[in-house]
C-alpha cells in the first residue's frame, strides 16, 4: 500500500464523522483498506446521499458506530450484507434519511447556517425517528408546516476523482456533490487517477469542473482507485467483483476471508 494513502488514512481519528459519496460519483475505494488498517473506529458515516461497498466494508471491519444515509446497497449485486446484518444486530445506529435531506444538511454547512428548510418528509417514519429534525410553522406564511434539517459538518470528506494538479486543485467535473461534501467538511482527502502538471484553474474549460485547493487537505495518487466501482468518464464498474463480494460477505467469516485476500494489482 502506498505511503501516501497511509498518510491520508492517518488523518482520521476515532469518533470522527466521515462523508462518503454515492457509488457513481467517485468512491475512493483505494482508501478503504488503508482506513481499515489504520483502525480508527467509532466512526459516524454520512452517505452522500447513499452508500455501498465502502460503507459495507467499514461496517464489516467494525469501525462504524453510526450511519446516516438514504440507503445502503450494492446496486445490481443486491443488498449490503454487513450493513444489513449490523442493522439487524443493532450493532450500528442507523439514521435513516432521504437523499435531499442529506444534501440540505450539507448545504446548510456550506452556507454557514444552522439549518436548511426542506419540503416533504411530514408524515413519514423517517421524520418520526429523527428528533433533531424539527417541524416549524413557516414564519413567512402561517399554517404551513415545514421541516428544518440541521447542518451536517463532517470532520472528513473522502472521495476519488479523475485528476488533480500540483497545487491541490481537483477536477470533479459535474459531480458537484463532491464539492458540496468538501465545502461542508473540515478537511477533504482525495485520491485521483492522475496528477497533471498544468493548473486546472489555468483555463476556463477545466476550471469549470474544479474544486479549488482551498477545500482540499491532501491528495494521493491511486490509479483505478474507485475499483470495483467505476469512475465516470474513465472506467466502468466491475460488477462481477461486486457480486463476488456480495456472495462472500453474507457471513462474517466470508467477509473476513474476502478482506484477507491480497488486493488485485
Amino acid at each position: 500500500m502506498p505511503d501516501d494513502l497511509r498518510a491520508l488514512a492517518s488523518r482520521v481519528r476515532p469518533g470522527m464523522s466521515l462523508a462518503l459519496p454515492v457509488d457513481y460519483a467517485g468512491v475512493s475505494m483505494a482508501m478503504t483498506r488503508p482506513l481499515i488498517d489504520h483502525g480508527a473506529g467509532d466512526l459516524h458515516l454520512t452517505c452522500v446521499p447513499t452508500g455501498g461497498l465502502q460503507v459495507d466494508m467499514l461496517i464489516g471491519a467494525g469501525l462504524v458506530r453510526r450511519v446516516e444515509t438514504s440507503a445502503v446497497s450494492l446496486g445490481e449485486a443486491g443488498g449490503a450484507p454487513r450493513f444489513n446484518q449490523a442493522v439487524r444486530d443493532g450493532s450500528i445506529q442507523i439514521l435513516d434519511a432521504t437523499c435531499p435531506a442529506i444534501h440540505a444538511g450539507l448545504m446548510a454547512a456550506q452556507k454557514g447556517v444552522p439549518f436548511m428548510p426542506m419540503r416533504g418528509l411530514i408524515g413519514s417514519d423517517i421524520l418520526a425517528n429523527r428528533p433533531e429534525w424539527q417541524v416549524i410553522d413557516n414564519p413567512l406564511a402561517s399554517g404551513d408546516p415545514i421541516v428544518l434539517i440541521p447542518a451536517i459538518r463532517p470532520d472528513v470528506a473522502i472521495f476519488h476523482a479523475p485528476m488533480a494538479d500540483r497545487e491541490g486543485n481537483v477536477w470533479i467535473g459535474r459531480r458537484r456533490e463532491l464539492a458540496a461534501m468538501a465545502y461542508a467538511a473540515t478537511q477533504t482527502l482525495v485520491t485521483v487517477e492522475r496528477i497533471v502538471d498544468r493548473s486546472l484553474l489555468a483555463d476556463e474549460l477545466t476550471a469549470a469542473g474544479t474544486l479549488p485547493a482551498l477545500y482540499v487537505a491532501a491528495v494521493a495518487l491511486a490509479p483505478r482507485g474507485a475499483w470495483p466501482y467505476g469512475l465516470w468518464g474513465e472506467y466502468a464498474a466491475d460488477t462481477a467483483e461486486l457480486m463476488r463480494y456480495a456472495a462472500a460477505a453474507r457471513t462474517a467469516q466470508g467477509f473476513a476471508d474476502y478482506m484477507a485476500q491480497k488486493v488485485p494489482a
Binding site: G79, T98, G123, I126
Partner: protein, 254 residues
C-alpha cells in the same frame, strides 16, 4: 401481433405518462425507462419529453450533482417519477426500509432514497411493482418511507396517481386516500387480484381489461424503443429480444 406481458406493462406506463415534459426513473428500472422512451417516441415532433435515468452517465443531463434531480422537482420541473416499495399499503404509503420493528428490522432493505421528498413534489408519481402479492401490497406498511396522503395544510403539489403491478392497474384517489381497480391485465381476474392484494380497494362489478397495444405502437416499441433501451439495459433488452424470438418461433410452429 400478440403482446408480451411486459409489453402491455410498458405501454400502460407510456399511457400514464401522457403529456409529461420531464420524467425521471431509477437506475435499475428498465420497464419505467422503456415506458418513458415509448412516450418520447410517441410524442416525437409534437412535444419534447426529457428522460433522466438516475445514476446513468448516458441518460443524465444534470450537471449539478445528485442534488439537481431533487432541486428540479422542487422547482416544479419534474412531472413524473416511479416508486417501488418493499411494501405498499392501501393508503399508498410506501415502505423501502424493512419488515418488522424499526430500527432492528427482521428484513432490512436499502432505504428510502429520495422517496420522502419526490412523493411530495412530483405531480405524477407512479407506483410500479411487478410482484402483486399480499406480502407487497399490505394493509399497513411497517415503516412509512413516504406517506400516500398528507393533511391539507402540508405543502404537497405531488403524490401517487396509479399503482401498476404484473396483474392490474389501480388508480389512486387522494381525497378518499384509497385505490380503485382500473383494469386487470389479460390472463388475470378479479378473484385473483382480490386474493393477491392485502388492502381493500374499489372496483367495478366487471372490471375493464388493460388495453393491449396496437400494431403501430408494438412496432415502435420493438424497434426504436428496444434499440434505445439496449444501450442502458443490455441484459433486459437481450432477454426481451429472446422472448420475442421464442414467441415468433412458437407462432411459426403452432
Amino acid at each position: 401481433m400478440t403482446a408480451l406481458p411486459r409489453e402491455i406493462l410498458i405501454c400502460t406506463i407510456a399511457r400514464l405518462l401522457d403529456g409529461v415534459r420531464h420524467v425521471a426513473v431509477g437506475a435499475s428500472s428498465p420497464m419505467p425507462a422503456a415506458g418513458a422512451m415509448l412516450r418520447r417516441a410517441l410524442d416525437d415532433g409534437a412535444r419534447p419529453v426529457r428522460l433522466s435515468i438516475l445514476g446513468s452517465v448516458e441518460h443524465n443531463f444534470f450537471t449539478n450533482g445528485s442534488a439537481e434531480l431533487f432541486d428540479s422537482a422542487g422547482q416544479g420541473r419534474l412531472d413524473a417519477f416511479f416508486l417501488g416499495g418493499g411494501q405498499i399499503d392501501g393508503r399508498a404509503n410506501v415502505n423501502l426500509v424493512g419488515v418488522g420493528d424499526y430500527p432492528q428490522a427482521k428484513v432490512r432493505w436499502p432505504g428510502s432514497f429520495g422517496s420522502a421528498y419526490l412523493y411530495f413534489t412530483v405531480p405524477r408519481v407512479i407506483l410500479f411493482r411487478e410482484e402483486h402479492s399480499p406480502r407487497v401490497l399490505v394493509d399497513k406498511v411497517d415503516f412509512i418511507s413516504a406517506p400516500g396522503v398528507s393533511e391539507p395544510d402540508v405543502h404537497r403539489p405531488g403524490g401517487p396517481v396509479a399503482l401498476l403491478t404484473s396483474k392490474a392497474l389501480f388508480g389512486f384517489d387522494r381525497a378518499r386516500a384509497g385505490f380503485a381497480l382500473e383494469s386487470i391485465h389479460p390472463g388475470h381476474d378479479l378473484d385473483e387480484i382480490r386474493a393477491a392484494t392485502g388492502f381493500a380497494f374499489d372496483h367495478a362489478a366487471a372490471p375493464a381489461t388493460t388495453p393491449v397495444p396496437d400494431a403501430a405502437t408494438l412496432s415502435l416499441l420493438r424497434g426504436r424503443v428496444l434499440d434505445e433501451l439496449a444501450e442502458t439495459y443490455p441484459a433486459f433488452a437481450a432477454q426481451w429480444r429472446g422472448d420475442l424470438a421464442a414467441m415468433t418461433s412458437e407462432g411459426a410452429t403452432a
